[in-house]
Symmetry: C2
Subunit: 453 residues, 2 copies
């Protein structure tokens, strides 16, 4: 699978002069995102595109080709694949659509046969491409830029996947990879799970999924995987499942079955894309909590109550102990040192930093949620700087901040420093919940893995 | 109650030279937000603040005073109120804290007695102020600017309320008013519900609430109210209720009781602040749907499946009918005219506008959710312009867009044009759900109202 993510050389078959063509956009993205390997545009017309010599066929290319990205009309794909096979290409990403998704199952089977004959792996067809940020490879026709990070995103939906490339950027969510799986004619979710499990640049795997081809294989792949997997399984409802069937041909199966399987093998389920990344952000950045005691620190009573409600509903345990009295030191007399610790609207950056230090130093506290309502006495950007300076990274810390433009900026600043920050208290609590869920699942996974040895 | 929102003149008692003082910030906000009435700073030291002559006492002011905003230490409040009473002030907003919320119940009772004696109404104490955008009145110590709109926000939490002033601005959520109710010593939720019911500038009322003082009075006030009311009731969980009790002294009562009462009198309950405004945005801008048939139009299959799941879960009915075949005209052959209508990733602005026109013209379709994944063939800002041009406003239309920076801009553009737009398909569906819920509740309200005549 390596050659899809860390190829030494990439051929773009169907490269085009016309900026409106997918074959142009992919080549442009590969060049502009800063890929360091060899790049070969291929088009029977020859000439030059974006300053690169165009080869008339993949077989004319002088060096080896690890990955071929194919963007030619579907009927031409078999011929192109034969040519790739003769050249010794290792992996083929077939962008072209017009296969099983429109009922053309035969053509798809023929393509897979050709690939098997030559020992090539096929990603797709019917995909928007593949990107791997550590290698600065953006072989997609999505946005040119991708935020580098530790989350691998596997998308069964094309349009949604491309849209999420842009969305993750504006939300400061860093990705190690984004893969469009399309019709999954050859490369499956399981192949990708195995690859990302072994990939040192990936910490969390997020999957947008409408259905799996082989439930048992998927379960086994999850069981042998050592990393948190967050799945948005669409087609939960009867009507949604019907829509999914018409979209990707997924036999959705009963949602209860999916839910049961996810629980059994330890997959974290997200109801929405936003929730998936709320959790993935924390899972990719924070250490595992050593125990279950959480403390909430807030300058607003209301936001503290909302977080407390969320904690009880999500099963995140708030710590009670006489040692919480230590927080008295950083609050006015009318504050409350009981959890949620209310350092009051008078709290400034120093009060927050004092509270954070107390929480960090107390071995009875295992995770921390820091909540903030924008006030005149505590500037959000200064608070973000303070947190970056003070947080020692040894226990999980999540932050939720509510306010205006400067608060938005502060949230971005924290996230780009690797401290998960959100604009709603419920998100911060859900992020902690994900850490606790993963702690439980991780043990389950290794146990199950040992059982099957 | 009028004089709290549309006063002819405002005195700021405890006005200060020092920009770090609340008494300065309130005066500055009143002046800078563009209030057109008379403004009188009051401080025993006299002089001038922000170019305004300072009166040594409210009684020295030459003209009438409708509203006095009081920001002096708690022990001085009774004396100030006596003075206001002698002056003939109509409403007093007491910013000062140090009353019942810190156990000083006696002082609070004394203040209310003085006000009653003089026929004055008291908002607070322990509040951040009051703002009413149609009168350009920002008598708060929150942000200087407030987005004008049709949603009135009542907040029992100070810090959260102020933070939401900033948040609503960055989210392009328009407010008619924002009121901090604090300890509710005199002016209650019910008084405010009555005022906003009669206020032509308010279409929807959002309340952040930890508890009500008088359940029966609240129910009656809701029953006689003709506008949608969305409540974020915090302290849902046992532990959250405890935190609320220590925060605002609210006796939370069983959450089941609140839930039952809300359903009975027709209050829309929101679990989070974000959800409350997702719903309020739609309720404040869109017409009531004439029937229950919703159609989803999308360029992405995945986002369509997610919206379909949400629709089924929220009880939003997706329309099925042979006339959906009309959508064929605006999609390639591999699109799907079945609801969710998938005009495919090849859809451009014209395809969307064609689909919107078909939906608008079909009398069997009563509401529309338009979903968009950012693609190269359909620019989000051009799409937003197209929607603004094409939408005729006769049936509810909600929009969800997923993508990068330009998509974010497009969402803002639609919202500021009064077309509710969100960054997640589930939000768009929830917004429609709110319209249907309100349709049901509205009938219930008028029925109950008639019953009690």
């Amino acid at each position: 699978m390596e050659f899809f993510f860390r190829p030494q050389s990439v051929a773009v078959i169907g490269a085009s002069h016309s900026p409106s063509k997918i074959g142009h956009q992919i080549l442009r993205n590969i060049l502009s995102y800063g890929y360091k390997g060899k790049v070969y545009p291929v088009n029977p017309k020859g000439g030059e595109i974006l300053g690169k010599k165009v080869y008339r066929s993949v077989e004319e290319i002088p060096g080896d080709v690890d990955l071929a990205v194919v963007a030619v009309p579907a009927p031409l794909v078999p011929e192109v694949l034969e040519s790739c096979g003769r050249k010794g290409v290792k992996g083929v990403a077939i962008i072209s659509s017009g296969f099983r998704e429109v009922g053309n199952r035969e053509l798809e089977e023929r393509v897979v046969e050709i690939a098997r004959k030559h020992g090539m792996r096929v990603l797709g067809p019917n995909i928007f491409g593949v990107a791997y940020t550590p290698a600065r490879l953006n072989a997609t026709f999505g946005p040119e830029n991708i935020q580098k990070g530790k989350i691998a995103l596997i998308s069964q939906s094309g349009a949604l996947g491309i849209a999420l490339m842009g969305w993750t950027q504006t939300e400061e969510i860093g990705l190690s990879a984004i893969v469009s799986v399309g019709n999954k004619a050859d490369v499956s979710d399981e192949d990708l799970l195995d690859f990302f499990d072994s990939d040192p640049e990936t910490r969390v795997i997020v999957i947008y999924m409408e259905g799996v081809h082989d439930g048992r294989a998927f379960m086994e792949a999850v069981r042998r995987n050592g990393k948190p997997i967050v799945v948005i399984k669409a087609g939960r409802s009867e009507r949604g499942a019907k829509a999914a069937a018409s979209h990707t041909g997924s036999l959705a199966g009963s949602d209860l079955v999916y839910d049961g399987v996810f629980r059994q093998v330890g997959v974290i389920r997200a109801r929405t894309v936003r929730d998936a990344f709320v959790m993935a952000r924390a899972l990719s950045e924070l250490p595992e909590p050593r125990g279950e005691n959480t403390v909430i620190i807030t300058n607003g009573g209301g936001i503290g109550v909302l977080a407390t409600d969320a904690a009880q509903e999500e099963g995140v345990k708030l710590y009670d102990g006489p040692d919480l009295a230590a927080f008295r030191r950083v609050m006015p007399p009318f504050g409350s040192f009981r959890n949620p610790v209310d350092i009051t609207g008078m709290a400034d950056v120093d009060s927050y930093m004092g509270a954070l230090e107390i929480a960090q130093a107390n071995p009875n506290i295992h995770s921390m949620a820091l909540l903030y309502c924008e006030t005149a006495v505590c500037d959000p950007l200064e608070l973000a700087e303070g947190i970056k300076r003070t947080y020692d990274g040894r226990k999980p810390l999540v932050v939720a901040m509510v306010g205006g433009e400067r608060t938005e900026e502060a949230i971005r600043a924290l996230n780009s420093a690797g401290i998960p920050a959100y604009d709603a208290p419920e998100d911060a609590v859900r992020a902690l919940k994900a850490l606790y869920l993963w702690k439980k699942y991780r043990k389950k996974r290794s146990k199950q893995f040992a059982d099957t040895q």
